[in-house]
């Protein structure tokens, strides 16, 4: 009985926390003005919010095969989503001519790769 209540409380707690992270992400996307800043807000929702929501769902569903599948979903999205954001950021850095107006760059000469600190 106590374990079921604990499961319910923790599950819904994580779920609601994840949802509020999503709300923060939405506000950030519409409040920020520059691409890289907005992408940062979106990435928070994609990783932290999604992870917390799925963790809540995993706790709620109990110890089943579905739980393992949800864990795999978290693993896949945490692998894929940051990398795609990284590719978009690289595209912005390489194509934007006036990027120095928004952030300072440090160039790594030997790797021919540009990283950006905003």
């Amino acid at each position: 009985m106590v374990i079921e209540w604990m499961q319910f409380l923790f599950g819904t707690g994580f779920l609601i926390f994840g949802m509020s992270v999503f709300v923060l992400e939405l506000i950030g996307i519409f409040k920020f003005k520059y691409v890289l800043n907005r992408m940062h807000a979106a990435a928070i929702g994609d990783t932290f919010g999604l992870g917390m929501s799925l963790l809540g769902l995993m706790i709620l569903s109990g110890f089943k095969f579905v739980t393992l599948k949800m864990g795999l979903v978290i693993f896949f999205l945490w692998m894929a989503s940051p990398v795609s954001s990284h590719l978009i950021a690289r595209l912005e850095v390489t194509t934007n001519e006036h990027i120095d107006d928004f952030c300072e760059q440090t160039k790594i000469a030997d790797k021919e790769d540009e990283s950006c600190k905003c």
Partner: protein, 319 residues
């Protein structure tokens, strides 16, 4: 507690702004988000004139309207002919539509026994737990065969249109490098982990097509997406080690011909009330439901190859 407020005070309130936003009179986000300016796309008179001249020149060169009497006549009556064609088509379609049964009649051909038969006897006849797969790969297998062939024909058409043949390739050998993606070590590390997972998931979806939602089309699309990811990460040279034009041809050919032969056999024996000799197995096992599993694999291979072939053909005009 309520007290009247002036109009200016009301305009500053949140409620008013929300009201304006809902009515579409003011957007709170305009001039707030960084956007690129749109290009002015109104066509220049000079450009329009030049296009018109080009078009006339092309028509003159291609059809040789000055010497060819037929094309001269054809262009003269082109508009009349097009209107005539449309009228004939519309008449045919309207006549056909007038023969359709009235709406809402319970004795219409839509409400026949076929749907009920599929749902009631589907599992017994086909051995597939997933009724949809049982339908598309058993009762209506030739329909699915046509769809797979449509994919193959579409790739052939794109091949004809976009192919970078040897004559063209000699001309622009310098630009070959632009097709190769920029080597990104982060992407490469992640793809090394994700690519096998994506392919295994695709195979799982294909093999479980008769047990759970999914099947050849969706699983093939997943594998094709995995192949595209691999190409985008490591470049075309790495992909060519295991996937060339020859692979595409042979995989498509083998899958389509196996599908055709297997289903022809099964329909032939079925139509003549003969024993086909294909065991259905127990419903729910991976190896069950007769021909559905191998046909699913065939469809999956065709779809995966088509997805990848489209991508490479549009990207660089060749495998």
């Amino acid at each position: 507690m309520s007290r009247p407020i002036s109009e200016e005070e009301y305009k500053k309130k949140l409620l008013n702004r929300v009201h304006l936003w809902i009515r579409g009179e003011a957007d709170p986000y305009t001039d707030n988000i960084e956007t690129k300016e749109l290009h002015d796309n109104t066509p220049n008179e000079e450009v329009l004139e030049r296009h018109q001249e080009d078009r006339e020149q092309v028509i003159k060169d291609v059809f040789d309207t000055e010497n060819n009497k037929f094309y001269k006549l054809f262009f003269r009556f082109y508009k009349v002919a097009s209107v005539m064609c449309c009228v004939v088509l519309v008449t045919l379609l309207v006549i056909t539509a007038s023969y359709l049964p009235p709406k809402g009649d319970p004795t219409n051909p839509v409400n026949n026994e076929v749907a009920a038969k599929y749902i009631e006897d589907g599992m017994q006849d086909t051995g597939a737990v997933n009724i949809v797969t049982g339908m598309i790969l058993d009762y209506r297998a030739f329909d699915t065969f046509g769809e797979s062939n449509v994919l193959f024909v579409a790739t052939c058409t794109v091949l004809i249109l976009m192919r970078d043949d040897k004559k063209k390739a000699q001309k622009n050998t310098v630009e070959k490098k632009q097709y190769e993606p920029k080597a990104d070590s982060i992407l490469q590390q992640i793809t090394a982990v994700l690519f096998p997972i994506i392919v295994i998931f695709g195979i799982y979806v294909i093999l479980n097509g008769h047990l759970s939602p999914g099947g050849g089309f969706s699983g093939g699309a997943i594998i094709g997406a995995g192949l595209i990811l691999y190409t985008n990460t490591y470049g075309f040279k790495k992909t060519q080690e295991f996937f060339t034009e020859k692979t595409y041809k042979w995989v498509s050919f083998c899958a389509l011909s196996f599908y055709c032969l297997a289903k022809s056999y099964s329909f032939y024996t079925g139509a003549h009330h003969l024993e086909s000799g294909i065991p259905l197995g127990t419903a729910g096992d991976i190896i069950s439901s007769g021909l559905i599993l191998p046909l699913n694999i065939c469809v999956g291979m065709v779809v995966a190859c088509t997805m990848y072939a489209f991508y490479t053909l549009f990207k660089k005009g060749g495998f």
